[in-house]
């Protein structure tokens, strides 16, 4: 039994790592800005803190031997945020660890740290700077540089899958840059070995998956796994032009951009791992991308029941966080005790539309908010909200306001969206209601 600290313990690698270590009988202290995930093993001690606030956790580190830093900011962010979250946060954690007598520190960097074309890509710089801090520290250290990480909660995977599913898939540049996605379970498994591997001291290890693709190849594979029968059609967007123009406007319209010019570096660099002997030793057979990792569209990972599907659709409609299996079981339990059944054909239609998908639930929700306040669909949505606000992790999202200064603009946008939804809903549903009402009358007489 060893004592290990995992920073970024709620993240996609950190959460898996905590589970692996705790289930192997180690004492695990998880630190994360987020609350303890519902499914974290009971044995994991949790401190909810920003790494930049050592007063919350520094005292707790003494007695621990190993710190694994999985925290880090990727995705769209402003330059200063990358530096703060990736460099300063790691420096703060590292100092606290050294002061507490921790003897080993493992840092999860990124393959971007070796990109050569990194125009506007402060993210890559921040990873280099953090690596420099770690490698200068007076303890045994190891750095790993994973390529893009896939898995059920991977944002990159979700975004690329979405792109791949479009009738026409936009690709920046020639689509020939190389990628080698690795699965989050594998990264966690590797770390759980490296933590105790004395031979890894002072090593920087690049970590990639089983297969290497070019961007076209990856998108095509995702499309196939998604269940599309037509091959992908690509349209190429000029990469250097996009990067330059995004860089110009980014400061002003940052909030509204789906990505930044820096992030496009992924299309300009090969992101594949150089082989390393320790990889062969500790992760000899990484997983390939198959249906388990990229489930076909519409397939449901946790629930097969109609109510369960409905619940997940509704939770996605109301929040970004979505629901958990626990909340789903409560949703089903409620229906078992208090059935919510449509009382007439029109109600049945509303429910059917709501269940049909994201657009359907948006339309019925907008419509019933004003014109069907007693409808079964609305009752179900209220129930969903009550479950989301009563349990983790979704309750946090329901408490968190939009980014500073954006509350009013976003509320106005939501107002417009709502008005549009009601209008469209009324156009469709009111005639349907009249027709169904007449039919019912006819049947009765």
């Amino acid at each position: 039994m060893r004592k290990i600290v995992v920073a970024g313990a709620a993240g996609q690698v950190g959460s898996r790592l905590c589970a692996l270590l705790a289930n192997a009988g180690h004492v695990v202290l998880g630190i994360d800005r987020n609350v303890r995930p519902q499914d974290a093993p009971k044995g994991v001690v949790w401190i909810r803190s920003d790494l930049l606030e050592p007063q919350n956790y520094a005292h707790a580190l003494s007695g621990y031997e190993i710190v694994i830093d999985c925290a880090g900011l990727a995705g769209k962010a402003r330059p200063a945020d990358y530096m703060r979250e990736n460099v300063e946060a790691t420096r703060t954690l590292l100092n606290a660890a050294v002061n507490a007598g921790v003897t080993r520190f493992i840092y999860i960097s990124s393959i971007a740290a070796k990109f050569t074309d990194r125009k506007h890509y402060v993210y890559a710089d921040s990873r280099n700077a953090a690596e420099a801090v770690v490698s200068a520290a007076p303890l045994s250290w190891t750095i790993i540089r994973p390529t893009m990480i896939f898995g059920p909660d991977s944002a990159v995977q979700a975004n690329l899958s979405k792109l791949a599913g479009l009738p026409v898939t936009p690709v920046f540049g020639d689509g020939l840059s190389k990628v080698q996605p690795v699965v989050s379970d594998d990264v966690a498994a590797l770390l759980s070995q490296l933590a105790f591997g004395d031979d890894a001291a002072g090593a920087t290890i690049e970590v990639g998956g089983a297969e290497t693709f070019d961007m076209h190849g990856l998108l095509s594979k995702l499309r196939t796994l998604n269940g599309a029968d037509q091959p992908a059609k690509f349209v190429h967007l000029p990469l250097s032009f996009m990067r330059a123009s995004l860089a110009m406007v980014e400061g002003a319209v940052f909030k509204f951009l789906p990505f930044t010019s820096g992030q496009l570096a992924a299309f300009a660099n090969d992101a594949i791992a150089d082989p390393h002997p320790l990889m062969a030793k500790y992760l000899p057979a990484p997983q390939v991308l198959d249906e388990r990792i990229v489930p076909p569209k519409g397939a449901h990972t946790t629930s097969d029941s109609a109510l369960g599907k409905e619940f997940y659709l509704f939770t996605r409609h109301l929040t970004r966080t979505g629901g958990t299996a626990y909340q789903e079981s409560k949703y089903i339990d409620f229906h078992r005790r208090h059935p919510l059944e449509p009382i007439d054909a029109f109600e049945g239609l509303l429910l059917k539309v709501a269940r049909s998908g994201a657009f359907g639930v948006w339309l019925t929700d907008s419509f019933t908010g004003l014109l069907g306040r007693q409808s079964v669909v609305r009752a179900k949505l209220v129930l969903t909200m009550a479950l989301l606000e009563s349990a983790p992790p979704s309750f946090h999202e329901l408490d968190a306001p939009d980014p500073k200064g954006m509350a009013w603009p976003f509320m106005v946008l939501r107002g417009i969206e709502a008005a549009f939804g009601v209008l469209l809903g009324a156009l469709i549903f009111i005639p349907a209601k009249l027709i169904l009402g007449r039919k019912a009358k006819g049947a009765r007489s």
Binding site: F367, S390, D399
Partner: protein, 537 residues
């Protein structure tokens, strides 16, 4: 008066009557139905800690059977009643009553209704006590004594203090949440203009919640769980006094017993009470020397009426009162988009005083910035889809507040409590209430006044969301056995002695001769204390 005293009831009135009687050297038996609640869940956890660390948080927050879930079909309240407090209103006696114009709630809990109260504790002024056969000077020692027992916090030097005379033993106020701070500083900045224009005054609430340790109760740790039940008793509830009583010599507690009636001889002397054990229905009779009725206004009325009925006398007790309440949710525009801290005291930290022409008509507004209540009840009251409501609420949650506007009430002959024969041969309680003729008028004048005051504070109160609560919802019942200097039968003297009986004292809200707008419970406790002092002198 005799040495041995039997008290019926286990609520705020009864426990302070009991404590006073004990202090005066009497032996006391307290008979109470006495339903108890669950132990607090994870006492050290904050509100969000409960959500995170409980195995089944949904059961805790919505109830095993989802009884606290508000769906469109049953949604008229802005807050669901927390499952952890369900025991407070659980009807274990199958009370049969026919009501018109009012829907009173009853509690059969050890500690009574105030096990779920929000702890607002405001002494009445001389003006508000005008109809009572005594004034502030007679009440002050009792208020101070109760404050010493229970711990009350607040201030004595702000604008609102003008409406709240100063008693002893007031703790410093509990630190305010950010939103309350913002409201108070807005008021302070615009004070001259606001008070001149509206003649309304904002200040710190007085609450029976601790800012400093008190006996073995710790100061509020700001865990944010108030609405769900304070896990550390930092909010006073009568069960605190009940526990304390049970550790004292000369006191015995008989829970699980329902008193049906008392019996009296021809000379008007109460001889015994007739009760039964709820568990097995076994009848109990208990001889009494001095009987104190303190089962809450409705509970005491029921016992008196049943006793009289048994002796062949059917009467109607008149003068039932209750505070009308209007709920006015508002949004503090300057705080839209602000985040908020769930780790703060949740009940009202601020109150608004609105003096009227006559001091008795003073209107009292309790201002709450509650952030830990579940939001699905409020969110669904917006005329938009739930997704839009969710998106809006995330941004306005830290800007939302609620003013609960309380109106005074007076005794009127047609508001009665009586008995009528039920179909099953048993008698049921009949409760009738009609608001005063000028009520609608008063509400029409006062509500816009509050709305405009809020608007000048930068807070918008959407008119469709302002709701008139039904009578009974305030849970401030009083007045059916009033203290009158020269009253007839079934009224009391100022020491609570019920006419025409020789040895029967009433020590709860039944004795009030009028009902000011300020929450009554602090005065209930002080009055019970004063009554016992005077009756046992």
């Amino acid at each position: 008066m005799s040495d041995s005293i039997v008290i019926i009831g286990g609520g705020a009135s009864a426990v302070h009557a009991a404590q006073t009687a004990l202090e005066k050297g009497r032996t006391v038996t307290l008979i109470d139905i006495g339903v108890t609640g669950p132990e607090p869940a994870l006492p050290g956890a904050s509100l969000n800690g409960l959500k995170t660390d409980l195995d089944d948080p949904v059961s805790y927050f919505l109830g095993e059977d989802y009884s606290s879930l508000i769906l469109p079909s049953n949604g008229s309240e802005y807050y669901g009643f927390p499952p952890s407090k369900e025991y407070v209103l659980r009807d274990v006696i199958g009370a049969d009553q026919k009501v018109a114009g009012i829907a009173p709630l009853s509690s059969y809990a050890g500690g009574g209704l105030a096990q779920a109260w929000t702890a607002g504790s405001y002494p009445f002024t001389d003006g508000e006590l005008e109809a009572f056969p005594f004034g502030w000077a007679d009440m002050e020692p009792a208020y101070s004594e109760v404050a010493r027992r229970i711990g009350v916090s607040g201030v004595t030097d702000d604008d609102l203090s003008a409406f709240m005379p100063t008693h002893e033993s007031l703790q410093a106020p509990i630190p305010m949440d950010e939103h309350s701070q913002h409201l108070l500083s807005t008021y302070s900045a615009k004070r001259a203009k606001l008070t001149a224009k509206h003649n309304m005054y904002l200040g710190r609430a007085r609450i029976a919640s601790l800012s400093q340790d008190h006996g073995d109760r710790p100061a509020c740790s700001r865990c944010g769980r108030c609405l769900w039940g304070c896990p550390t008793q930092s909010i006073y509830t009568p069960s605190v006094t009940l526990e304390h009583l049970r550790r004292q010599p000369g006191f015995s507690y008989l829970p699980g017993v329902r008193v049906d009636r008392f019996e009296f001889d021809d000379g008007g002397r109460v001889t015994q009470i007739v009760a039964h054990r709820l568990e097995d229905g076994v009848d109990i009779t208990l001889p009494v020397e001095t009987l104190v009725l303190a089962a809450g206004t409705i509970g005491s009325a029921r016992i008196l009426l049943q006793s009289l009925h048994h002796a062949g006398q059917d009467v109607a007790l008149s003068g039932l009162m209750d505070n009308r309440q209007v709920l006015m949710p508002f949004i503090n525009l300057a705080r839209v988009g602000s985040s908020f801290d769930d780790n703060s005291y949740q009940y009202n930290q601020l109150a608004i005083g609105a003096p009227m022409d006559h001091p008795h008509d003073y209107v009292h507004g309790l201002m709450t910035t509650l952030t830990t209540a579940l939001i699905h009840p409020v969110a669904q009251s917006l005329p938009v889809g739930m997704r839009t409501a969710t998106g809006i609420f995330r941004n306005i949650h830290g800007a939302l507040g609620l003013v609960n506007i309380n109106f005074a009430d007076t005794r009127r002959a047609d508001n009665t409590v009586s008995l009528e024969p039920g179909t099953d041969g048993k008698h049921r309680l009949v409760i009738n209430y009609t608001p005063s003729a000028d009520e609608a008028d008063r509400i029409k004048r006062v509500v816009p006044k509050f709305r405009n005051f809020l608007m000048d504070m930068g807070c918008f109160a959407p008119p469709p969301m302002t709701r008139l609560r039904p009578m009974g919802a305030s849970v401030h019942y009083a007045g059916v056995m009033p203290m009158l200097n020269d009253g007839g039968d079934f009224t009391t003297d100022r020491a609570g002695r019920l006419r025409p009986f020789e040895n029967l004292i009433v020590a709860d809200g039944s004795t009030f001769t009028s009902l000011p707008a300020k929450n009554l419970t602090f005065t209930l406790m002080a009055n019970a204390t004063r009554i016992m002092h005077e009756a046992l002198a």
